[in-house]
Homo-oligomer: 210 residues x 2
C-alpha cells in the first residue's frame, strides 16, 4: 500500500518505519522539507514533500500530528484520493501540557476530522498505544498489545486491522467511528497512568477473550 505519514513525530516515524519494513511504500510528509527528508531516510521511507503532496497519491494516510495542529493540516488533505483511508492516531489534547482532553459533546476528535475531510474514510487506531511501544514493537512476553480500531466503513476498518496484524498487534474491531468517544478518553487513562503516575510508557492494553 502507498502510505503517507502525515507528521513524522515519534508515532508517525515509528509506525512508518515498521510499515516500510513490512513492504509498504511509505512517504513522509512534513511542513519542514528538511525534517521530512531526514526522517524518511532514517526510517527507510521516501520523502513525500509537504502534507499536500505526500497525501496526493496515498491509499492510506497516517495522521500523527498533535491535536492543536490538526485543523491546519486537514486543510492540506482535501485533495487526498477519494476514499483513501485516514488512520487517525491523534488524541484531542488541548495543548502540549497533555493535561486536558477537549470535551466533545456527542462527538469525538475522529468524528470531527471525518466531518472536515468527508472524502476520506476515517478510522481511529493506535491512539492508545505509546510511541515507545510502537518503536520497540507490540510484544509483551508473548502477549500482543491490542489496537482498538473504530470506523464507519467496514473495508477501511479491515484494511487498518490488517496493517495492525502485519505489525504484530492484536487488532480489535471497536465498532463505528463514534466509538472514538470511548477510545480517546482511554488514551487519557493511559497517559495518566504512564506519565501522571510516573510508571512510564512501557505499558499497553490487551483485550482478553475466552
Amino acid at each position: 500500500m502507498k502510505i503517507a505519514v502525515i507528521g513524522p513525530g515519534s508515532m508517525g516515524a515509528g509506525l512508518g518505519r515498521h510499515l516500510a519494513a513490512a513492504g509498504h511504500e511509505v512517504r513522509v510528509g512534513s511542513r519542514d522539507a528538511e525534517r521530512a527528508r531526514e526522517k524518511a531516510s532514517e526510517i527507510g521511507a521516501s520523502f513525500g514533500g509537504g502534507y499536500h503532496e505526500a497525501a496526493a497519491e496515498a491509499d492510506a494516510l497516517l495522521l500523527t500530528i498533535p491535536w492543536w495542529g490538526v485543523d491546519e493540516v486537514l486543510g492540506e488533505l482535501g485533495d487526498a484520493p477519494s476514499g483513501a483511508v485516514l488512520i487517525d492516531v491523534t488524541n484531542p489534547y488541548k495543548d502540549d501540557t497533555f493535561a486536558e482532553l477537549v470535551e466533545f459533546s456527542g462527538s469525538s476528535g475522529a468524528e470531527e476530522i471525518q466531518r472536515k475531510v468527508p472524502g476520506v474514510r476515517v478510522v481511529k487506531a493506535w491512539n492508545t498505544v505509546f510511541a515507545p511501544v510502537v518503536a520497540s514493537g507490540p510484544d509483551f512476553g508473548g502477549q500482543a498489545a491490542s489496537v482498538f480500531v473504530a470506523g464507519d466503513d467496514a473495508e477501511a476498518k479491515e484494511t487498518v486491522m490488517r496493517l495492525a496484524r502485519e505489525l504484530g498487534y492484536d487488532p480489535v474491531d471497536a465498532g463505528p467511528l463514534s466509538s472514538a468517544r470511548f477510545i480517546e478518553p482511554l488514551a487519557g487513562l493511559m497517559v495518566r497512568m504512564a506519565y501522571g503516575l510516573g510508571r512510564g510508557p512501557n505499558q499497553a492494553l490487551k483485550l482478553l477473550t475466552r
Copy 2:
C-alpha cells in the same frame, strides 16, 4: 472486612459471593427485603436489611445499582460509618437501554457520588468488568483481568486493590478519583464491543507491562 452489598443485582451478587468465599463478612442490602434475604442465602452472605441498615456498620460498601437509581440510594447511605470505603461499580448510563452515558463536563459519576456522600471514601473499581466475568472469575487462560482502581484516598484505594487481588484480579492503580472520567467511558467501549457488536461479555481488559 464488613462489606455491604448495596444492590444485589448480578454484579453485586457476583462480587458478594466471591468476597464472602474469601472470608469477608458480607451483608446484602436491598429495598426489597425478600429479595435481599434470598440473594444473601444464595451467595453465602447475611441479610443486611434495607440499604440504610446494610451500610450502617460496614467497612466497605459495594455500590452496584443502576445509575438511574443512584441518587435515591445515596440518600440512604448518609449514615454509613465515617471513612467507610464506597466502591463505586456503577456506570452512568442514562437508562436501561444502555445506549448513552451521561456526559459530565469536567467530572464523572464517581466524583458526583463523592460530592453527595462526603463522609465516605469513594473508589472507582470493577466498572469495566462484566458480571459474567465476575461470576466465573478473572482468569483468561493464565492471564488475570485487570481492575482499574481510582480514588483520592491512598489507603482506601489500597484496600480495594487488596480485595481485587484476593479475588484473583490484577488491580491497576489508575490514579485519583478524577480518572473515573476515563474509566467510565471505558465501560462504554466494553459494552459496545460486547453487546453492540454481539461478541458477548466474555472479555476483559488487561494492562500489559514490560
